[in-house]
């Protein structure tokens, strides 16, 4: 493990920001710290950087305990949420700052800065001041400035928060490609799961000062380890007494469940493709339709339970108030912090092959395919 946090605890004025945190991050990986605000993700990042000290526990970088090592000696690059560019310095001077502090020879500074300016596509902007740059360009400068002294670890605090939604997607791809190109171990903080999924190779989900789960995007989607992750990831609908739904029975004291839109199929009763499973379906009424660009999001009332599902734009039109047949393939049953994936029993009894015809979204073992 390149970066390791062992039994980290941290309290701010009675607020427990970190509770017994244990994390391992491999060399060369790109890790997202994902969680709602106040979940302690930024605190973890700042402790790795040395901007905060843990109350107890050890932090290792490349096998060295860094608790007592000054932030500037840890070999890290840090990209601040608002970039913290030096506003009275040009782009060139901003990027060169870390090298000047290290008293590197002038020619070498110039060479390195030029290299980074080219790498980040900022050529021609060297003499500009931060206030003359767009949000995306500022992020590039912040990135180049952090990389200039050749750090071994790059830390980014909400790197996309200050950027317009429109260019955010493009920048995510840019940052991911750039980090892979440079090959630097990187950790970034985000509250946006799309961002984490798109950019990171490993995701650490935090909540309430704890690490809830660590894994790839697929693992976190397919096998949520805790109730929190189940309810946080995806677009979950939380229902009580899921035994009311056809094909599911409450077992071992599990009553609460989380249903994702992908777990639901809604079709019109005259749809011949589903006629063999119509017996497993129940009636639902469309209460809302939202246009989502590439698909529709339907909200359905199924026996008093509100569920939502996505519907391809290619399919027949539906309208509010229309009665639909609804099949729930599976759901996550939750008891305390235990999570269990439960399949629809009625569907199981049907011919498995046919039943799965329409569930092209899922692979054979039942996990979500990215």
């Amino acid at each position: 493990m390149y970066v390791e946090l062992k039994n980290i605890n941290k309290t701010f004025d009675g607020f427990r920001a970190s509770r017994d945190i244990n994390i391992g991050i491999e060399k060369g990986s790109l890790t997202a710290l994902l969680g709602p605000s106040g979940s302690g993700k930024t605190t973890i990042l700042r402790m790795i950087a040395g901007l905060e000290n843990p109350d107890s526990g050890d932090i290792f970088i490349d096998g060295v305990r860094v608790n007592d090592i000054a932030p500037s000696e840890r070999g890290i690059g840090f990209v601040f949420q608002n970039y913290a560019l030096f506003r009275y310095m040009t782009v060139f001077d901003n990027i060169a700052y870390g090298l000047k502090i290290r008293k590197q020879p002038k020619e070498e500074i110039k060479k390195r800065v030029t290299e980074l300016i080219e790498l980040t596509g900022l050529t021609g902007m060297e003499k500009r001041y931060p206030n003359q740059l767009s949000g995306g360009q500022r992020q590039r400068v912040a990135f180049a400035r952090a990389l200039a002294p050749n750090p071994h670890l790059l830390l980014l605090d909400e790197p996309f928060a200050a950027i317009d939604a429109k260019v955010r997607h493009e920048l995510r791809m840019w940052l991911r490609d750039m980090i892979h190109k440079v090959g630097i171990t990187s950790i970034f903080v985000t509250h946006d799961q799309d961002e984490a999924v798109e950019v990171a190779s490993q995701i650490i989900v935090t909540n309430n000062g704890r690490v809830e789960q660590t894994g790839t995007a697929r693992e976190i989607y397919g096998r949520p380890a805790t109730a929190f992750v189940t309810e946080f990831i995806g677009q979950p609908a939380v229902i009580d007494n899921y035994g009311r739904l056809k094909g599911f029975e409450e077992e071992d004291g599990f009553t609460k469940a989380v249903v994702r839109p992908e777990f639901i199929e809604a079709f019109k009763s005259d749809n011949s493709r589903f006629k063999h499973v119509i017996g497993c379906s129940e009636e639902g009424t469309i209460t809302d339709i939202m246009f989502r660009g590439t698909s529709l999001e339907l909200t359905l009332d199924v026996g008093g339970i509100k569920l939502s599902t996505h519907r391809s734009l290619e399919r027949r039109e539906v309208e509010i108030g229309e009665k639909m047949r609804v099949i729930i393939y599976r759901l996550f049953a939750v008891k305390g912090d235990e999570v269990r994936l439960i399949e629809n029993e009625e569907l199981k009894k049907q011919d498995m092959h046919n039943a799965r015809l329409e569930s092209y979204l899922y692979s054979q073992d039942g996990y979500f395919v990215m």
Binding site: G50, L51, E52, N53, P54, D55, S56, D68, P71
Partner: protein
């Protein structure tokens, strides 16, 4: 061993990433203590060392009582006058465009920049019976110099900037939607001003009022020439009394009076701080 105990202490605190905490805080506290707090503390300690009886006699001698009355009353009237004109001036400077506005804005600060002694002799010269402003006022039967009116005029002079400068920024930030909403609800411009705008400005007006009042109560240089400083006419202000006692080497008397003044100043400072904290809390809640 040392590093161990150091670590223990450090672990509970936020690491100071930015250097210079110890040295700058240490220097700040040292300079503040040596130059301000210890000398003021000496006054306090000296006052505490007096017997209560001695202290009480010094503070309640007729001259001192009248001086406190004069200072507080005139400073209060001056602060009220400055609040009224201060709001008008701030309003005019923020809401209207007219030639010479910049000059007017700059002139407001004049009392901060002009030495108090210069203000004092100038006002005194202007308002004496045969002075440029004193003569016409005398014809109306109003005597300004060597009366409480004169003291008030001097305090108005030094206090002008306080209310204007605390109301102006608030008025600039005041959302015009407030007024528009009030207009739409059917209020005319006068009731809009008094019901909506004035209540929004109240914390700023109170802050300016408090600062002007504190300044007026402690005022010395600009007041003493126009005041006449007569014990019989009760035109001595507190600062003058302290100075007089100092000149007579009556240190216990000077200290006792100064002690009461310090208490008044601290209370005013505290009240101003409370108003300001409340104001920032309210604006943050919006």
């Amino acid at each position: 061993m040392r590093s161990m105990s150091d670590k223990k202490v450090k672990q509970h605190k936020k690491p100071r990433v930015i250097p210079g905490f110890g040295i700058t805080l240490g220097t700040t506290v040292a300079m503040l203590s040596i130059l301000i707090l210890i000398p003021l503390g000496s006054v306090m300690v000296y006052a505490f060392c007096m017997t209560p009886r001695e202290f009480w006699e010094n503070v309640t001698s007729p001259g001192v009582i009248y001086a406190f009355g004069t200072s507080i009353l005139t400073a209060f009237i001056a602060a009220v006058v400055n609040s009224v004109f201060g709001v008008i001036l701030a309003w005019v400077l923020v809401r209207y465009e007219f030639p010479g506005k910049m000059l007017l804005d700059g002139l407001i600060e004049l009392p901060f920049a002009i030495p108090t002694a210069v203000a004092g002799i100038t006002l005194s010269k202007l308002y004496v019976r045969d002075g440029f402003l004193g003569a016409p006022l005398a014809r109306l039967g109003i005597t300004v110099s060597y009366t409480h009116i004169g003291i008030t005029v001097a305090m108005i002079f030094v206090g002008i900037p306080f209310v204007v400068r605390s109301v102006q920024p608030v008025l600039e930030k005041l959302d015009p939607q407030f007024e528009e909403a009030s207009y739409i609800l059917g209020a005319d411009s006068f009731s809009t001003f008094f019901k909506v705008i004035l209540s929004e400005l109240m914390p700023a007006i109170l802050t300016g009022f408090g600062l002007a009042l504190a300044r007026g109560i402690g005022e010395y240089g600009s007041v003493i020439y126009i005041a006449g400083n007569s014990a019989r006419e009760h035109t001595q202000v507190v600062s003058y009394i302290i100075m007089q006692k100092l000149n007579y080497m009556d240190y216990p008397g000077a200290t006792a009076v100064a002690f009461v003044m310090l208490i008044i100043s601290f209370v005013l400072l505290l009240l101003i701080n409370i108003v300001q904290i409340r104001q920032s809390r309210r604006t943050n809640n919006i």
